[in-house]
C-alpha cells in the first residue's frame, strides 16, 4: 500500500496525543499527578496539539475536506466513521478534564471521574483507528489479530514516554517507578511486533493469481499484458513495492532506534536523576518518535493488497 504521509502522521501523532491524555486522565484520577497549572497547560497543550495535528492531516488528505462531517454518519457499519465519532466525543471529557485541571486546579473527585472517562475514550478512539485497518480482508498484513494490540501498545508507549518527560521535569514521585512500567511496555510492544512479523512470514496469503482469475483448474496463471501501458490509480495506491525490498533494513532500524536505544536511555535516566535524566528521557522520546514513524511507514508500505494479483503478483 502507498504509505501516504498524511495517514502516517495521523496515526502516529494522534496515537501519541491520545496516549498522553489517557495517562494524564488515569494518573490524575488516582491522585498520582499534581493538578499543577503549567503541567496541565503543557501536557494538554501537547496532547491536544498532537491529536488535532493528526486529525487535520487526515482530513486534508480527503478529496473533499469540507464534507468531513458526513463521515460521522455511518458508525453502524464503518470503522472509519466510528473512529470519527469516538475522536469527536473524546474532546468532551478530555476538554472538561483539562479545564478542571487548568482553571480549577482539580483532577480528583468529579474531575477525576471525567478524567477516567477521557482515558477510556482515548483507548476506544485508538482501537477504532486500528480496526479501520484490521477489518480489511483485502490486506493480509492488516487483517491480523496483531494489528489492534500493536496500535494500542504503540499509542500507550508514545504517551508514556511523553508523560515521563513531565514526571521527571516536575519531579513527581511517580516518575521514579513509572520507567519500570515503560520498560515493560517496551518489552510487550517489541514482543508483539516480532511475533507479528513472524506471523507475516510464516502464513501464506489465501488469495492467488489462480483464485483471482478462477483459472487455476487450467494451470499456473501469470499476467501476460497489463490493461494499459501506463500506471493507474490502483497501481499507485495499492501496488507499492519499494518497502518489501528494504524491509529487513527498515525493521532493524525500528528495533534499534525505536525500541532498544530508547529503552536503554530510560533505564539510564532511572539511574541518573536530575538534568541528565531529563535529557536522556527527551532523547528517548525523539528516538522513539523516529522509530514509530518508520514502523508505521512499514505497516503501510509492506502491506500487499489482493488487487495486485491482477497486476502480476502471484500470491497476496
Amino acid at each position: 500500500m502507498h504509505p501516504a504521509k498524511s495517514v502516517i502522521l495521523f496515526t502516529t501523532a494522534s496515537g501519541a496525543g491520545y496516549g498522553l491524555i489517557a495517562w494524564f486522565g488515569l494518573f490524575g484520577a488516582f491522585g498520582l499527578l499534581p493538578a499543577e497549572l503549567w503541567m496541565g497547560l503543557l501536557g494538554f497543550g501537547i496532547g491536544f496539539g498532537l491529536i488535532v495535528l493528526g486529525l487535520l492531516s487526515s482530513t486534508f488528505h480527503l478529496g473533499h475536506p469540507e464534507r468531513a462531517w458526513r463521515a460521522l454518519s455511518q458508525w453502524r457499519s464503518s470503522w472509519l466513521s466510528r473512529e470519527g465519532v469516538a475522536a469527536v466525543f473524546t474532546f468532551l471529557p478530555a476538554g472538561l478534564f483539562a479545564l478542571a485541571w487548568v482553571l480549577l486546579g482539580r483532577n480528583d473527585g468529579l474531575a477525576g471521574l471525567i478524567g477516567l472517562l477521557a482515558s477510556l475514550s482515548c483507548v476506544v478512539t485508538v482501537a477504532c483507528t486500528a480496526m479501520i485497518y484490521a477489518s480489511l480482508r483485502t490486506i493480509r498484513a492488516w487483517h491480523s489479530a496483531w494489528t489492534l494490540p500493536i496500535y494500542l501498545l504503540m499509542a500507550a508507549l508514545s504517551g508514556a514516554l511523553l508523560l515521563q518527560v513531565f514526571l521527571s521535569l516536575w519531579q513527581v514521585p511517580l516518575g521514579r517507578v513509572f520507567p519500570w512500567a515503560i520498560l515493560i511496555l517496551f518489552g510487550l510492544t517489541l514482543g508483539a511486533k516480532l511475533l507479528y512479523w513472524r506471523s507475516l512470514a510464516s502464513e501464506e496469503g489465501g488469495s492467488t493469481a489462480e483464485s483471482a482469475t478462477g483459472l487455476g483448474d487450467l494451470g499456473k496463471v501469470r499476467l501476460l499484458e497489463a490493461p494499459h501501458s501506463e500506471s493507474n490509480y490502483l497501481m499507485q495506491e495499492m501496488g507499492f513495492r519499494i518497502a518489501r525490498r528494504h524491509a529487513e533494513k527498515l525493521r532493524r532500524i525500528v528495533l534499534l532506534a525505536g525500541f532498544c536505544a530508547p529503552a536503554l536511555l530510560i533505564l539510564l535516566a532511572l539511574l541518573m536523576p536530575g538534568v541528565p535524566g531529563v535529557v536522556a528521557t527527551l532523547i528517548a522520546v525523539a528516538l522513539f518518535a523516529a522509530g514509530l514513524v518508520v514502523e508505521r511507514w512499514l505497516f503501510f508500505a509492506e502491506a500487499k493488497h489482493v488487487v495486485t494479483l491482477y497486476y502480476g503478483e502471484s500470491r497476496a
Binding site: H64, P65, R70, S81, P227, M238
Partner: protein, 250 residues
C-alpha cells in the same frame, strides 16, 4: 446508508463474461469510457492524456493472462474486469459517509458523488480493483452497470443493456438478472459452470465468469473441407476469360 440493504429483492443484475470468447479487443473498455464519461458518474477524467505519463479513470479494464498447463503447453486468456456488484460488498460497509450504497431493488452498487469525501477507503476494501479515484473531482468512481442506460426509456428497448455488453463484437458479455434461476444468464452460468472470482474474500460477487472451453489437441481437431474452393464455379466465367485461363495455364 452504507449498511447493506436488509431486505434486498430477488433481482441481482449483473454481467456474465465469457473467457472462452473474449478476444481482448478492449472495445468494451472503450465504449464503457465513452458512455460513462457523460453518464451517471461523469466525467471519467484523464490526466495528462497526450503526455508521457497518462492516467485516467476507467470502469472496465482488460487484463491478459497466460495459463501455463502441465504439459508445458499454455494458453492466453483475455480477462475483462469491472465491478462485480457484490452481495456482501465491503466497499459499501466501510464507507463512513453513506456515499457508497447498494440498491435494494436491483443490487447495483453506486457512489453518490455529492456525499463522497474522497477518503479512498472503499477502494482499499474492494478485492477486485473496481473503484478508481477521480483526482480532479476528489471523489470515488466505479462501474454503474450503466444504470443510466439499462432503464433509459429514451432508448429503444434492445439498446437498454450496458454499453460494454452492446459493443462487444464477439458476444463475450451478457447482462441479466442473476437472481432469477430461469433467466438466460443464469441458465448460461449453469450450463457452462460459471464461477465467481476470489470466493475466499467472502464478498459474494454477482457477476460470473465462464471458463475457457478445453483445448482441442491437433490430432483430435477436425476441420471441414475448405468452403472457398468449392464455391468457385469456373464454368460460369465468360468465354474470353476461359480462353485466357486455358492459354495461360499451358
Amino acid at each position: 446508508m452504507t449498511s447493506l440493504p436488509t431486505e434486498s429483492g430477488d433481482t441481482k443484475l449483473g454481467l456474465v463474461i465469457d473467457l472462452d470468447i473474449c478476444v481482448g479487443c478492449h472495445a468494451c473498455a472503450v465504449n464503457c469510457k465513452e458512455w460513462n464519461t457523460s453518464g451517471h458518474s461523469a466525467p471519467l477524467t484523464d490526466k495528462d492524456p497526450y503526455g508521457a505519463d497518462p492516467t485516467g479513470v476507467w470502469f472496465n479494464r482488460i487484463h491478459t493472462f497466460e495459463v501455463v498447463q502441465e504439459a508445458g503447453d499454455s494458453r492466453t486468456v483475455h480477462f475483462p474486469k469491472s465491478c462485480l456488484h457484490c452481495e456482501e460488498a465491503p466497499c459499501v460497509t466501510v464507507c463512513p459517509t453513506g456515499a457508497s450504497y447498494k440498491r435494494a431493488e436491483d443490487g447495483i452498487v453506486l457512489v453518490n458523488a455529492e456525499a463522497c469525501i474522497g477518503c479512498k477507503l472503499c477502494s482499499w476494501a474492494c478485492p477486485y480493483g473496481a473503484r478508481e479515484y477521480d483526482e480532479d473531482a476528489g471523489v470515488m468512481k466505479k462501474c454503474t452497470l450503466c444504470v443510466d442506460k439499462i432503464y433509459n426509456e429514451n432508448l429503444p428497448e434492445r439498446s437498454r443493456v450496458p454499453a460494454c455488453v452492446s459493443t462487444c463484437p464477439a458476444g463475450a458479455r451478457h447482462f441479466g438478472d442473476l437472481g432469477d434461476p430461469t433467466s438466460e444468464v443464469s441458465l448460461l452460468v449453469a450450463a457452462r459452470d460459471g464461477f465467481e472470482l476470489m470466493p475466499e474474500q467472502d464478498c459474494k460477487p454477482v457477476n460470473r465468469y465462464l471458463p475457457p472451453r478445453p483445448k482441442v489437441s491437433p490430432d483430435e481437431a477436425t476441420s471441414a473441407a475448405p468452403l472457398i474452393a468449392a464455391n468457385f464455379d469456373d464454368g460460369s466465367a465468360g468465354l474470353l476469360a476461359r480462353w485466357v485461363d486455358r492459354l495461360l495455364t499451358r
